[in-house]
Symmetry: C2
Subunit: 414 residues, 2 copies
């Protein structure tokens, strides 16, 4: 019979006794990261309100967003300026709105509004981003989870599902430094996604490139030209690209972008024209003044990396010390998250034990549609926000909870 | 037989020969008005990013919007802070989003999603705001025009329609200084609207109080407490209030608000939680720093009035000189528009003649659902944007076109 180690029980009791109060739930930039953009708080400055063409940005108009800012982000994403719109202060409402438009009016070259599709569904590679899943749930789009394999996307399953089920109209993906695994799609995977036959002619990939410039190494993963590859594969309208400056400048005052084929852009422009006279172009000018150019964004992101890298290293080091051989985890080359596989049936209990000890981590199941982690093993770790000391204390405490939950489970199984 | 006056023909030929290029189409603030808020361009300023509670506004969170700004606008609108949310940079997307939510999920205490209602319809007092009608058209909500009478709303028709037709789920209104007539609802009218029996239990009034603080007289029309009157009448959820700073600070960088009963606010909050992590709170802080308090808004609006009043006076004076006895028009006490009734069958032709002479005014029919002005008589005048000289030249030229169109029509009728 396996006993629960007295050492672990003691360690956990000591952890609870410390009375910690740590919040590791969300991928929020830290105050030090936000300080990097403080100069923006006084921009553009009195008297500065015109774009390069001389347009007065204080007034209505300019529904596509500021061309200069779209050019900067377009250069970083490999998307022509006229195929990239800057429409809101974050990207999540843009994703929501694109799906609303698809439901209410249908997408270009489709067979009508998706709301008329019986059981309209999306594929969700898992673990994935909880807010993508929340949008689908709110809009009544059924989600089909497709677990990542050890080597990446489960393309065989994805291909088979989309080829045979016309109710599947789309798929979520975070192509670079994915939330929460940190995985970046390979060129081969992207080619497969844009080329695969689909039962629904109007299949769309929601391409949330949230971390395109959020590298953590000297050897960044490349931005793959998904629009170009899709056009070459004969499916130019399949991907719709999203990006944002929320984790570049201010999460509460950035810019959200949407990119796509000319047909998708015309469709988005038409939908938006009924709902707004234009985005906040002054905030976009503020970003142009702050960045200068695309190289300015890259230089700015290097400062973020300098702050983030030690946080990620600290987490990985503690995981290595405490959980080597009894759990596995991802080693991201960018982005905001580490995904910890704590073992079957362990996540919920470990997270509950951690909460009891004052350590809040993302809810068990959150990276899965409907909050359902079938193996109950995934814990999403968000290293960015806490101070280094708090982060170390929190992750170390969480490891104690994972070990205790594993032992409890082993004991119960005998 | 009526001849077309040689004088008028000559006057029009001279007008065309002047080669004007004037745009009187939209109710945009003028550059001088925008200059009033230029100090905002440098706000909040480096180091200023916390609200009164100490929250870091540079980060995610605060989905309801900044409490201090909601308190300021709430004081002006007579709405408690917790019933007024600041969710976007303008109000039009909020109106669109509320209707999207109603279509997709239904409203509180309703009988389900409006998309399931056969022929779901809205009442539209006319002439009204073209962008309200564009939202309905884009979302597939049928519009029923109800012309204003000489004394105000046609309450008999409105009451009869909503009492008998359960497909009518709502109504648009601009309660103060309406676009384009300048009409403000009376307390009696508001009481009638919130009290009237409706066949649909979930009837909603889209209460677009766009011009609540946009007075042009020393004796401002009052903000009527529609939420209080609706609650007293037993229909607390009927009105949903919208407001915006687009014509207070910057049209391209303001704040949009939505207010309502606790049930409506909870419903809106839930819908928004799936689509965003929070609005641009830094832009809201910028507004708080600029206004100071509600009195600061009132003082700021007095400066707008000083710029706008001469514009309105110039238009009214020219109309009086040129069209007295042959046309009628409204004399607004606030807001952004004058509505000219040019006579049956005259508007389209007069606007075309004006365009030929380089004077662009709002398209004929725009203030009506589906662009259909049954009498073809309404021309919306927007005095705010042009310089006083351009405005005088444009309105004088337009009067020539109206007179010529009237004479052409009289001649054709014989």
């Amino acid at each position: 019979m396996t006993h629960i180690s007295t050492d672990l029980t003691t360690a956990y009791a000591e952890l609870v006794a410390r009375g910690l109060s740590l919040d590791l739930t969300r991928g929020k930039p830290s105050p030090s990261q936000l300080d990097l953009s403080n100069a923006m708080l006084g921009l553009p400055g009195d008297g500065d309100y015109r774009d390069a063409a001389g347009t007065d940005l204080r007034n209505y108009g300019g529904p596509d967003g500021l061309p200069e800012l779209r050019a900067i982000m377009g250069e970083l994403l490999g998307i022509p300026t006229d195929q990239l719109l800057a429409l809101d202060t974050t990207s999540l409402p843009l994703m929501h709105e694109v799906l609303v438009a698809a439901l209410l009016t249908g997408v270009p070259h489709g067979d009508g509004p998706w709301r008329n599709v019986e059981g309209v569904s999306f594929l969700c590679p898992v673990p994935g981003y909880d807010r993508h899943f929340a949008i689908c749930e709110a809009l009544g789009i059924r989600m089909i989870a497709v677990p990542f394999t050890d080597t990446g996307l489960d393309l065989d399953t994805i291909r088979s599902l989309v080829a045979n089920d016309p109710s599947i109209r789309g798929m979520w993906t975070v192509p670079m430094y994915s939330n929460p695994t940190g995985y970046s799609l390979t060129v081969e995977e992207v080619e497969a996604l844009v080329a695969m036959p689909t039962a629904a002619d109007d299949f769309r990939i929601m391409w949330d490139n949230a971390y395109a410039v959020h590298h953590l190494t000297d050897d960044p993963d490349p931005v793959i030209d998904v629009l170009g590859l899709a056009a070459a594969a004969g499916h130019p309208d399949r991907p719709i690209v999203f990006a944002s400056t929320s984790k570049v400048t201010f999460a509460g005052g950035g810019v959200g972008f949407v990119g796509g084929s000319p047909a998708n852009i015309a469709w988005i422009r038409k939908h938006w024209s009924a709902r707004t006279i234009g985005p906040d172009k002054l905030n976009q000018l503020r970003h142009v003044r702050f960045f200068g150019d695309a190289a300015g964004v890259v230089a700015h992101m290097a400062k973020h990396r300098a702050l983030l890298e030690p946080q990620f290293e600290a987490v990985l080091q503690i995981l290595e010390e405490r959980l080597r051989g009894v759990a596995s985890w991802t080693r991201p080359r960018g982005g905001y998250f580490i995904s910890l596989d704590a073992g079957d049936g362990v996540a919920t209990r470990a997270i509950a034990l951690a909460k009891e000890a004052g350590i809040l981590v993302t809810a068990a199941g959150a990276p899965f549609p409907y909050g359902d982690d079938p193996r109950d093993s995934t814990i999403r770790l968000a290293p960015s926000f806490p101070s280094l000391d708090e982060l170390r204390a929190g992750i170390d405490g969480l490891c104690t909870c994972v070990l205790l939950a594993q032992q409890e489970r082993a004991a119960a199984a005998e």
